[in-house]
């Protein structure tokens, strides 16, 4: 990629002082890592949303000996009545015997009826409460002893905690990558300042403003960091496609083939962030250095 032509001569000789070799390569490597970290963050958020949505709201109630006598009828009828009136519970549905048998087929085989096992009745429902349904579980167990209520909320809470940890790690990686990128730009800029000290002193003596000099360094540093960032982001794409294909089975129907849209938005932002880091770091470094001149 050729640097845009400028009508202004390169007064400070920055094309050689800030070379187009090391800085773009290092920034490219930083961007590659940042792209992976961003992808990890988005993937974790997507998985968490998937688990926290459907799974957290699912309630499963197992009623052993459903046909035995219970309060006002059978134990099953008593539990169904209680679920129908329980606050936060919606859509309680008794699973058919065929559906239950189908669920158990992997463990018990297809001829479950011949085994004469005491198969519990299974009720599914949706839980809309904000707290775990512990009180509901206790009341059902009291109504029909042995009744077992399981909620997806506990799993969802664990997944949420894991997701938060992953996102915190990714944020830390991004922060460190940004710091390292800024350090790399600062070191390269200081090297350029040392190489062009005499030229800078000359144009400073001729009346150049600090901004004139800092802007030239910043423009060069920005160009190099953006070039490196675009290259690093492009190199990360095949890896991201591969990781996305690996993660697709865990993301359920929410994940379509290819990269998620949020990642397509985030990836082009990385060169912009690199540009901001390159420009601001070079400006700060040069202006600080220039204060050493009269």
């Amino acid at each position: 990629m050729a640097e845009p032509a400028t009508t202004r001569p390169d007064y400070l000789g920055l094309r050689s002082a800030l070379s187009d070799r090391l800085l773009p390569v290092l920034v490219g490597a930083m961007t590659f890592l940042a792209a992976l970290a961003v992808a990890g963050t988005l993937a974790a958020a997507s998985l968490a949303a998937h688990w926290q949505g459907d799974t957290a709201a699912a309630l499963t109630v197992q009623v052993p000996n459903p046909d035995d006598a219970g309060a006002g009828g059978t134990r099953l009828a008593a539990v169904l009545r209680a679920l129908s009136t329980a606050p936060g519970v919606t859509n309680p549905q008794l699973m058919s015997t065929d559906d239950v048998n189908h669920l158990l087929t992997p463990w018990l085989g297809t001829n479950i009826a011949a085994l004469a096992l005491p198969i519990p009745a299974v009720i599914t429902a949706t839980w809309a409460g904000s707290a775990p349904p512990d009180a509901l579980a206790a009341s059902l167990a009291k109504l029909a002893p042995g009744t077992l209520l399981t909620s997806g909320a506990a799993w969802a809470a664990r997944v949420a905690a894991l997701t938060s940890s992953l996102q915190a790690c990714a944020a830390a990686v991004l922060f460190i990558v940004a710091l390292v990128a800024a350090a790399v730009v600062s070191v390269a800029t200081r090297s350029g300042l040392a190489q062009r000290r005499e030229a800078i002193e000359i144009i400073h003596g001729l009346g150049a403003l600090d901004a004139d000099i800092a802007d030239r360094f910043a423009a060069r540093a920005t160009w190099l960091t953006v070039t490196g960032a675009i290259a690093g982001g492009a190199l990360a794409l095949p890896i991201l496609f591969w990781l996305s294909a690996l993660a697709a089975p865990f993301a359920g129907a929410a994940q379509s083939p290819g990269l998620p849209p949020a990642l397509w938005i985030a990836l082009p932002i990385l060169p912009l962030v690199a540009a901001i880091i390159g420009w601001s770091t070079a400006q700060l470094t040069v202006r600080g250095w220039l204060r050493g001149l009269a």
Partner: protein, 227 residues
């Protein structure tokens, strides 16, 4: 106008405490140069001439005392104001201080470009001044391909191309033959007649004798004669 009032100067060092106690290179310097004035600055090597010129060109700060340059108190200017003030000062350095990666044309055009002059004016003025110093055939030549005298003429052209209000020259004829030195002095005196204040440091007492003007005489960091 250039005015020094009891100016003392020492170079800042960052070494150990013993070296920070460097002596003053300029001591109790006071003088006035009115607008449009001309002063020779003479004295033996090490007398403090270059240090004095650095203060005039705002390249160094005094340790104490007051300096007015072109009517501005140099102690009170911001960095931006100091830069804008430097644009009104033309400087010919003893060691030329040209940018080796730029052509002769771009070296001379530099002060005008920093001042955001338009390119057509820059082209006209730079071409004219390079013709005047006898280097119109070397616009695209880099300094390292020029002789010492030619480099000095480029440095002089750069100093005067912006028609400065104050012209400061440190041994400007040191690398010039007699004819070029005469041409340079004609240029400087012409600028002076047009209102530019001029300070020229030199060892060449013959030149001083040929162009009589008040002298600032330095010795051991002090002004020993003025006028």
């Amino acid at each position: 106008m250039v005015r020094f009032e009891d100016v003392w100067m020492k170079y800042q060092t960052t070494g150990p405490a013993s070296s920070r106690a460097a002596p003053d290179v300029l001591r109790a310097i006071s003088f006035d140069i009115p607008d449009g004035g001309f002063r020779w600055l003479t004295g033996p090597s090490g007398a403090g001439k270059t240090s004095l010129l650095k203060l005039i060109t705002l390249s160094e700060h005094p340790r104490s005392g007051r300096i007015d340059i072109l009517g501005t108190d140099a102690r009170k200017v911001s960095r931006r104001e100091a830069a804008l003030l430097r644009r009104r000062i033309g400087v010919v350095y003893q060691d030329f201080r040209l940018l080796g990666h730029l052509s002769a044309y771009d070296n001379v055009a530099l002060p005008m470009r920093l001042a955001r002059r338009n390119e057509s004016q820059i082209q006209a003025d730079v071409t004219e001044i390079l013709r005047w110093v006898g280097l119109s055939g070397k616009l695209d030549t880099r300094p390292d391909e020029l002789s010492g005298g030619e480099q000095q003429r480029i440095a002089i052209a750069r100093a005067v191309v912006g028609r400065p209000k104050l012209l400061v020259a440190d041994e400007p004829t040191g690398n010039l033959d007699d004819e070029q030195a005469q041409r340079l002095m004609m240029l400087i005196t012409a600028l002076n007649r047009l209102g530019t204040t001029v300070v020229v440091a030199t060892h060449n007492l013959g030149l001083v004798a040929r162009y009589p003007a008040p002298r600032l005489v330095m010795a051991e960091g002090q002004l020993t004669a003025h006028g």
